[in-house]
Point group: C2
Chain length 231, copies 2
DNA sequence: GCAAAAGTGTTCTCGTTACACCCATGC
DNA sequence: GCATGGGTGTAACGAGAACACTTTTGC
């Protein structure tokens, strides 16, 4: 391994990344956590995380563990913030870059998740996590609320084909308040970014709800010109 | 020094923080940069930065160098994002946590600034900076624009007593577009967060403009209950 | 036929925008 | 007295909020 050592007299630190993995299922926002496998605190619930290796960026590290735990590639991932208090980790001085990931629960590889001792919890049943991970979760929820007001990140939590009532229920979960279905639908469709399909999803009602897809290409164009999504 | 070494087999990394230091003067947004003093790239323009030491948080490190360069305590500082591409630093593998700082130019200690070879540049005259620092600046500008829509961070760039035309001119600089003065004033005052003083600032006009202060206590209360500042 | 969720329009309110003139003062 | 920047009000418009009933279909 090449070692340039230009900045010789400087201290190096342990750098970790922890992922707040959001999912959405049955009208509830969920979080993926797992049982920690390294000392100290072995066996306690923890966010999914890893140390950052010499040859990878922080994003690389996060993607690596997300694939490991969920089997999914191309997950939506965004930086939340850095946790660097000197005494935040009982094990050793270590900073952690928290990132949140949004994944489509119906896609994830159940087997992998279970093999790693991971588990989905809904927010109100979330157990006590190790270190400052509960703070990270709280900050992440705040973060996606703010972000959701400007970008259609909610869609990352739904299958490619989704219904409008599904989407509404998701936003109700994110904002923790009921939304008027007529107004929601009106505003949503006014963007002209949803493509109505000829299929219906009949799993939640007898009548069935039409499925839609999101026109990402069209959105990209709007985004460039400073367009803000959503309420 | 205590060394717990719990996470033994892990790699450690160099961790730096770079500060995008904004000021506002003469209707122009400005940036404080300085001539780099360590190899490689000695003598090139660089953001103000430092490595993070073992016994300090990232914020501590930033505050340390801000005091050093400006002599100012209690500077507004907020994390921007982490730059961690493997090859981003020619010197050695090193991640940097970029933070933006907002300071009141009229307060800063000119002597200290000059002693460190630092200099204020306005945006359009900003030179090429080392490494990925120009990217950081661009991201920071985007960041304060978004933030300014929700929080009164602009005030951190003005003296404690300021006039409404000053504030307007600041927001025009941040958003890079002219604002209507009647509408600006109306909305601003509608929050009931400005306290009109009996003094006028006569430096910019013969008539003089009334000075105001911001009611931070009242704002704190509103902020708690989910209040959003500004356009 | 009835329960349960999907889908549909209109009105009202309030905030945003557009717009032009007088005021105070130093020179 | 005039040039310069500070300060003021109103009307038109559009987006957001409030609000209730019909449709479809499985059972």
């Amino acid at each position: 391994m090449e070692e340039k050592k230009t900045y010789t007299k400087q201290h190096t630190l342990l750098v970790a990344t922890d992922c707040i993995v959001f999912g959405f299922d049955q009208g509830l926002l969920k979080l993926l956590v797992f049982k920690r496998r390294i000392a100290p605190l072995v066996g306690n619930w923890s966010l999914i995380g890893s140390f950052v290796n010499k040859d990878e960026s922080v994003t690389d590290a996060a993607m690596r563990i997300l694939v490991q735990f969920t089997g999914l590639q191309d997950i939506f991932l965004e930086e939340l913030k850095v946790y660097s208090k000197v005494d935040r980790d009982y094990g050793d001085r270590c900073i952690s870059i928290a990132q949140y990931a949004l994944i489509r629960i119906d896609d994830y590889n159940e087997e992998l998740v279970e093999k790693h001792g991971a588990k989905w919890f809904s927010f109100d049943e979330l157990p006590r996590l190790v270190l400052d991970h509960n703070d990270m979760v709280a900050d992440a929820l705040e973060g996606i609320r703010i972000k959701a007001r400007r970008r259609p990140i909610g869609l990352e939590l739904l299958p490619e084909k989704f219904t409008i009532p599904q989407l509404q229920s998701l936003y109700e979960a994110i904002y923790q308040r009921p939304l008027d279905n007529r107004n929601f639908r009106k505003k949503l469709l006014s963007f002209g970014l949803l493509v109505k399909l000829d299929e219906k999803d009949k799993t939640t009602s007898k009548k069935g709800a039409f499925l839609y897809t999101f026109d990402y290409d069209k959105y990209k164009v709007l985004e460039e010109s400073g367009f803000d999504f959503f309420l």
